[in-house]
Amino acid sequence: MPDTGLDWAAWAVAVPLVGALLAGLLSRPGSRLGPGLGVVFGLFTALTVAGAVVAVWRDGPVRAGLGGWDVPLGIALSLDGLSALMLAMTAVVGLAVSVYALGYLRGSQMRGKFWALWLWLWAAMNALYLSGDVFNLYVTLELVGLAAVALTALSGGAAALGAAMRYLLVSLLGSLAYLMGVALLYGGYGVLDLAALGVAMEPDNVSRLAAAFMTVGLLMKTALFPLHVWLPPAHASAPAPVSAVLSALVVKASFYLILRLWLDVFPALTVPGFELLMGALGAGALLWGSVLALRAARLKQVVAYSTVAQLGYLFLMFPLMAVTPGAWQAVVFFALAHACAKATVFLAAGNLQRAAGHDRLADLGAVMRAEPMSVFAFGIAGASLVGLPLTGGFIAKWLLVEAAIEGGAWGWAWLVLGGGLLAGAYVFRVLGHAFGRSVRLERHERVPGLMAWSTLALALVSVVLGFAGAASLELLALHGGRP
């Protein structure tokens, strides 16, 4: 029985990794072994994550060298409130997606590969949240990227392969930029550990260059406007469970890294105008993504562009932190709420696509009326994206606006509120089709119960998050990055 939080966390990496290896080695295309392995290992991963979260809650942040070798010689793992929350987010969304995938992939040729890749991705993300040094982070980042690209290409087809190729190039370029930054840092300071770097950091030009490389690389992976062009095709053309994972979790992994770096390592390096630039890019993402979501003709494209828009909020962190130091907690909670809501929306879109055989919005009305449960889930999650009450999105919006107003930054407060209205416009544009008097139902395939119910369950998690604000903030306050 693991006793410290780190033991639990290490298991949270090891369990899905073993699952991935087993699924990859043992399962033949079309066999039932993959799904079984996937769900069992997914469940155990979620349990270990729960153990880790409880341990952090009880004992506070922990860090330790792997195999007893601490820094500077060994590799450090660290687990604090932020990591724990990210692990938990991955586990909740991951579990729902796993159950969903059981139904979605039944009888599909993809399923053998899907389970191996998905568990692999899960392990890599967990490892990323636990790594305490910049080089390890590079390795996990690369693993996450490769697994995500492979998942994108899973459905075959020209569109998927093209999108995956583009994603691969961006991902590699991003990692490369990040790696150059790491090299510069190692050259300058001779350490890779986050905490040690944070202590030693001098505001000189080499460090600034390193920070710039790393940040730009990560921005590419996080698809911040104007580096977002790869995201919509990749997320819209992937199979539904993959879209959900990509939009909800994978972009959050690289964002987590940006947050971690600027929170624990680089705060000394900011130059005037930097925060404003990041905030402006975030605002650009918010506006441009929303406009495209309003114009998109296909449901999954609407959702993908909505991701571009909502990622913009994350980068309001920089200008907000400049006026209210605690603002990053609001942003993390926003990421949490967005992950749950966006995964739900993608899963619901997958249900509708399965039922109708297409996702052209204009012809979706009749199917939407025939699938009220999925539409309902879409509605709840959509309300969270808009920031309407009793959902996580509302709490997130409240926290963001509060941080802005506390710091007297009214412009950002109005931006957050206006972004909510834009989200309202595209969410209700979709929902409006469910009420229209469109043509009769032409084709309607029944959606498997596993898919419908897992979507609804994840939608209800958004509501639970509406009541989890205080607890999440308490967990985030257990911040162990600072030495």
Partner: protein, 503 residues
């Protein structure tokens, strides 16, 4: 068990049936009706219990922490009960009406599901113990009413729905900004008679004024204050029971109720006057009253005329609180109830005319009194009440509003009231006169309702007559205990002479 859980049960009494109804098949008509009426009846009983409890002076309050410094508070004070009783009585009546109205039309499970959610949200608004809780239920109300507005699914109703959402979500955003700001300045206080912002005005006067403006704008969207009213006449495309509920209790009243809460229980009347906010609010209300009446005068479509009349009449409530004197407050608050009763009567009548005889316009009403005498009688009572004829409900409200204006020496308000009363007569009397004394030459449109025993389906007629009867009863018996007027006087006493409590 703690008796405060009664509040939660009241919320659940419509929420749970609503959720169950979503899952019912379209054909299970009687089961759905049973859940609807069962929930509505249970809610009436529970609210009645609560009413007795509050009158005995018992305190009902439940709290849950959402964020540090942000609490969800459910509480029952006299003012919340005024609103809660109104909505639960009218919900019961409207449910019966809606069952009759929608008989045989598609998507009824969806309709009644959202209908129940809508009422849960309204009751939640009534029991909100602080601004944040109020906002939460207020936004849920927006969400729950939108499907009702677009229920018919025509291009026109979808457009109306978009307009409605655009206005209300923007209003919600303003409210959120105002509430966050207020929380940053003053923390999150509970509603309490006399307000909780005393002492802040020396330091933060400009901020408080701006926040007040934001709050009034945010609530004003739903209360349809000019110039934020234009969604309301468009939303008339919704089915008649929805319009009735929207106008009488749910949406429009929620906005007005919000303004009442802000003036009475957040800022307090003293601070509102000190900051110089009462007069602008009064002016806004008067402009809306006159403007709505003028527009109603020129509307030929019956529901549209009623909609503009709502714009006008709801502002009487705002005017009442803005007068910031006890008598004015009595007038405004009692109008919250009276306007609801009168307006729901009128909308039921309009729905009856439209469903039975396909009459939608005032100019088509000629001679309808001979074909549907009972409905026309109800319409007449509602219209006379709106005009302010003694001893009907509307007279009581206007009497106290007038006294209130004299009490705070705003004579121009009295002039405006008289003028608006004349306008009311000018747009409500023509349909009444046409109905009773007009002559129709071509035959009536005969419909599927022809075979009924009465002039129209009994589920449409019954609620209409009941509502019309209340218009008379609350007017005639205004002096009796537990009449709206009596209850409102209790609220106002507590507001203007708060019980002495140590610091």
């Amino acid at each position: 068990m703690n008796s405060s859980w009664l509040l939660v049960f009241i919320l659940l009494s419509s929420l749970v049936p609503g959720v169950i109804i979503f899952f019912l098949r379209e054909e299970s008509h009687s089961l759905r009706t049973a859940f609807n009426l069962g929930g509505a009846g249970l809610k009436l009983i529970l609210v009645g219990t609560l009413l007795l409890g509050v009158q005995r002076g018992e305190v009902y309050e439940l709290r849950a922490v959402l964020l540090p410094g942000m609490e969800l508070v459910l509480a029952a004070d006299a003012l919340s009960l005024l609103f809660a009783s109104l909505s639960s009585v009218l919900w019961f009546v409207t449910t019966i009406y809606a069952v009759g109205y929608l008989e045989g039309s598609p998507n009824r499970s969806r309709f009644f599901g959202f209908f129940s959610l809508c009422v849960s949200a309204t009751v939640g608004i009534a029991f909100s113990g602080n601004l944040i809780t109020f906002l939460i239920f207020y936004e849920i109300l927006t969400l729950a009413t939108w499907p009702l507005v677009v229920h018919r699914g025509t291009a026109q109703s979808l457009r109306a729905g978009r307009l409605y959402l655009g206005y209300t979500l923007a209003g919600g955003a303003l409210l959120l900004a105002a509430m966050v700001w207020l929380t940053v300045l003053a923390g999150s206080g509970d509603f309490k008679p006399g307000g909780y912002l005393m002492g802040l005005q020396q330091e933060f006067a400009p901020q408080l004024k701006l926040i007040f403006a934001l709050l009034v704008a945010g609530f004003g969207v739903k209360a349809a204050l000019v110039p934020l009213h234009s969604w309301l006449p468009r939303a008339m495309v919704a089915p008649a029971p929805v319009s009735a509920l929207l106008h009488a209790v749910a949406v429009v009243k929620a906005g007005a109720f919000g303004i009442v809460r802000v003036v009475n229980d957040v800022y307090g009347t003293t601070l509102t006057i000190d900051l110089g906010l009462a007069l602008p609010l009064m002016a806004l209300a008067v402009i809306t009253i006159v403007y709505g009446s003028v527009r109603a005068l020129f509307a030929d479509d019956l529901k549209r005329r009623l909609a503009f009349s709502t714009v006008s009449q709801v502002s009487y409530i705002v005017l009442g609180v803005a007068l910031a004197g006890p008598l004015g407050a009595v007038g405004g608050l009692v109008h919250l109830v009276h306007q609801g009763l009168m307006k729901i009567t009128l909308f039921f009548c309009a729905g009856n005319f439209a469903e039975t005889l396909h009459i939608h316009k005032v100019s088509e009403l000629n001679g309808v009194g001979r074909r549907m005498p009972l409905t026309m009688l109800a319409f007449t009572l509602g219209a006379l009440g709106m005009i302010g004829t003694p001893p009907l409900a509307g007279f009581i409200s206007k009497w106290y509003l007038g006294l209130g204006a004299l009490q705070v020496e705003q004579h121009w308000v009295l002039v405006a009231l008289v003028f608006s009363g004349l306008l009311n007569a000018a747009y409500f009397l023509p349909p009444v006169i046409r109905g009773w004394f007009g002559r129709r030459d071509e035959p009536w449109y005969e419909t599927h309702l022809e075979h009924t025993r009465f002039e129209t389906h009994w589920m449409l007629l019954g609620p209409t007559l009941f509502a019309a009867a209340t218009v008379v009863v609350v007017g005639v018996l205004a002096g009796m205990p537990f009449s709206p007027l009596d209850w409102v006087s209790l609220i106002v006493e507590r507001e203007y002479a708060p019980p002495e409590v140590g610091p």
